[in-house]
């Protein structure tokens, strides 16, 4: 184990525990197993993320360490069916996938999915895989892609420790009309490894709405990894709702690879976790690919949300845009660290990036770092960020129509994020997101009121 001597005792202990736990987590599927073995090596090589690294400069990973030693590597996937009923969106009633503490649950997921020409393969079921050679090939090609060069420590941890995630794949020329809902529950005080691989064949179309839901009353860390491959002409829309408890830490790693003329639309809604860190990487690998990333985070108390985003324009004539909006109050902190990287020769790139923030208290904090790194000549790129408060004249306009101050503040705050909420596919999900936003605002509005009185 290299240079561990330089690391503090907890970090070494963390890695040693991962090392020990991983030996019992190895898959029976040879191709998965061999990558897990590589992943363990990467975990020790990379070492626990340090503040000296650009990507981790603003993220305090110590709470993960502090919590980790009280957590198990969870092998429990029990959940009351009632709870699922509470969280499923009626529009997706027959299209549900459920994981509990990182473990895919066939019993809790709806069975009708496979009738719809979608394959769901449990990583923990070698027999199933043997019957599906196409899917086996997809896993061989894409699961833990280039793990020997993996630069994300937590993704490597996930690969080493995950025992049953799933592959969801849609064959060529297949359009799935209904939106698929995925519910990832965390209901134990665990260090969970949630894992999925999503593959769309040529010209396939799919919409997914994913919720990460924390139910545990004590601390937990959900380490989630999604790998995504869009083949030529595929269209994929992913809405991610982070609905964890105030005790939850969510690490979310999304790596998307986009082929020719494929289209990826992603909407991220960070609503509840105590800490969250999203690590989003999109590789535009063939001409004509388009990625639209949108995000909304709302934070109160001492919560934190970090969005680290890299969109890589590796070939000519791709487009991308990023729009992230945040509302931060009390002594909460957020980080937006977005990069547009345009490689040499990637001419005809069209990329935009914008981060807008509302700060509702004097102690709320945002580190907004939109970045462009351009090595090609013929490109159209723009980026920017804004930080502001609610507009006094807008508040006054609503008051002058008889609306109470608290209601006016809530309306304007919702109005700020509505642009993102509107992008979400399902109406009942939109309403759910608004409700969670308003829950956050209870304390926020109180704070805002004092700020305005102080002025």
């Amino acid at each position: 184990m290299p240079n561990l001597a330089e690391r503090n005792k907890n970090e070494i202990e963390f890695i040693e525990q991962i090392f020990r736990a991983s030996s019992s987590m190895l898959s029976e599927i040879p191709n998965i197993r061999s990558r897990q073995e590589t992943a363990i090596k990467r975990v020790t090589e990379l070492g626990f993320p340090q503040k000296s690294s650009e990507d981790w400069k603003y993220y305090d990973s110590q709470p993960i360490l502090e919590n980790f030693f009280t957590l198990d590597i969870c092998e429990i996937n029990k959940l009351d069916k009632e709870i699922i009923r509470k969280h499923r969106f009626p529009e997706c009633s027959e299209n549900l996938l459920v994981t509990v503490n990182g473990h895919f649950s066939k019993e809790l997921s709806s069975t009708s999915l496979t009738n719809k020409n979608i394959s769901i393969i449990d990583f923990n079921d070698p027999d199933q895989l043997k019957k599906h050679p196409t899917e086996e090939e997809i896993i061989n090609q894409h699961f833990a892609h280039k793990i020997n060069q993996e630069d994300s420590f937590f993704k490597a941890c996930n690969t080493a420790l995950m025992s049953n995630g799933f592959l969801l794949s849609v064959p060529d020329d297949t359009e799935i009309e209904e939106t698929i809902q995925i519910l990832h529950f965390s209901n134990e005080s665990c260090f969970n490894q949630t894992r999925s691989l999503i593959h769309l064949g040529k010209n396939a179309k799919l919409k997914i709405i994913v919720s990460y839901i924390g139910l545990a009353n004590s601390h937990f860390v959900n380490n989630a990894v999604v790998e995504l491959i869009l083949s030529e002409g595929a269209h994929f829309k992913l809405d991610k709702i982070q609905d964890d408890t105030q005790q939850g830490i969510l690490l979310y790693d999304l790596y998307a690879r986009l082929m020719k003329n494929s289209n990826f639309e992603y909407n991220s809604l960070d609503l509840k976790a105590n800490h969250s860190r999203d690590n989003i990487k999109v590789d535009l690998l063939e001409p004509g690919a388009n990625a639209g990333l949108a995000g909304f985070y709302i934070l109160n108390k001492d919560r934190k949300a970090h969005n680290v985003i890299k969109v890589n324009h590796l070939v000519p004539n791709c487009t991308s845009n990023q729009l992230y909006k945040g509302i931060i109050s009390d002594s909460a902190r957020a980080e937006f660290n977005g990069e547009i990287n345009v490689s040499e020769g990637a001419n005809g790139t069209n990329a935009t990036q914008l981060n807008k923030n509302l700060l509702l208290s004097n102690t709320a904090h945002i580190d907004s770092r939109p970045q462009l790194k351009i090595l090609a000549d013929d490109v159209k790129c723009s980026h920017g960020s804004t930080v502001g408060e609610l507009d006094e004249d807008e508040i006054f306009y609503l008051l002058s129509r008889g609306i109470k101050k608290d209601d006016a503040l809530a309306m304007l705050t919702l109005s700020f994020c509505e642009e993102i909420i509107q992008k979400v596919t399902i109406d009942s999900a939109k309403q759910h997101i608004r409700n969670l936003t308003l829950e956050n605002l209870d304390t926020t509005i109180h704070t805002a009121n004092t700020v305005h009185k102080l002025k």
Partner: protein
């Protein structure tokens, strides 16, 4: 005796950080009266309208404002609105993500609640709104748009009048409601004001032009200059001002 709706006495007001804008203003509006305020740019007309309706950027340093027997200074902006004071903004704000009809309903219900009355039945409310749209020749699809978002100047002004018609205030302050309107929009807006006006309420119109006053004839015309009303007269004062400009102030005042 007719009811006094608004009585402003020796009002002095300044910006939160110092500059004095109103310097001893007097104005009384009785039920059934239409008043017009004219005056050069920057003389304090919009400021007066915002101070009356309770904008937090301004501070009253002396004088008094009485509305239906209540001291406005002691009321929050939303209370003033619920008691029946309505300001049509010179520059109505665009509020993204707030549905126009929803907003109208919220405003209406705020007033109902304030007076301990029941909230409107949604269907009845839709009927009410539709009847008002007709007066303004506005199309129904306005209601499904976001509050003033992407509205043209004229559409915003009509939307202000729509709100006024639905809220049925006791006093309306119309800040340059006629600016930027084409002939048809001007007629629609004038229609709205005339539909609103009755013997029990009051109208205060801030304007630069006679053309609105052709449709809505004022009982009194005032000239505001440097934070004071320096001249008052009947409807013909506006005609004279339009012909000769504010130069007549110098002649009349000296």
């Amino acid at each position: 005796m007719t009811e006094t709706i608004l009585e402003v006495k020796n009002l002095e007001a300044n910006l939160e950080d110092g500059d004095k804008i109103l310097k001893g203003l007097n104005l009384t509006i009785k039920a059934g009266e239409v008043h017009a305020i004219m005056g050069p740019n920057g003389s304090g007309k919009s400021t007066l309208s915002k101070i009356l309706s309770g904008h937090p950027a301004y501070k009253v340093s002396s004088g008094s404002m009485n509305f239906l027997g209540r001291d406005l200074n002691e009321l929050e902006a939303n209370e003033r609105a619920n008691l029946g004071l309505f300001l049509a903004f010179q520059y109505p704000l665009e509020i993204a993500g707030v549905n126009n009809l929803e907003f109208l309903r919220m405003a209406y219900n705020s007033k109902q609640k304030y007076h301990g009355l029941e909230e409107a039945d949604p269907l009845d409310f839709d009927d009410l709104v539709e009847s008002k749209l007709e007066i303004l020749s506005m199309k129904n699809d306005f209601l499904n748009r976001n509050l003033n978002e992407g509205f043209s100047g004229g559409e915003k002004k009509k939307n202000e009048i729509l709100q006024m018609l639905i809220l049925e205030p006791k006093l309306v302050v119309l800040d340059e409601i006629d600016s930027g309107l084409d002939i048809d929009a001007l007629k629609a807006v004038a229609n709205g004001i005339n539909a609103y006006k009755n013997t029990g309420n009051g109208v205060l119109m801030i304007t630069h032009y006679q053309r609105l006053l052709d449709y809505v004839v004022p009982d009194q015309v005032h000239v505001l200059s440097e934070g004071r009303i320096v001249l008052s007269g009947k409807a013909d004062l506006a005609l004279e001002l339009e012909k000769k400009g504010y130069d007549i102030l110098n002649a009349k005042l000296s």
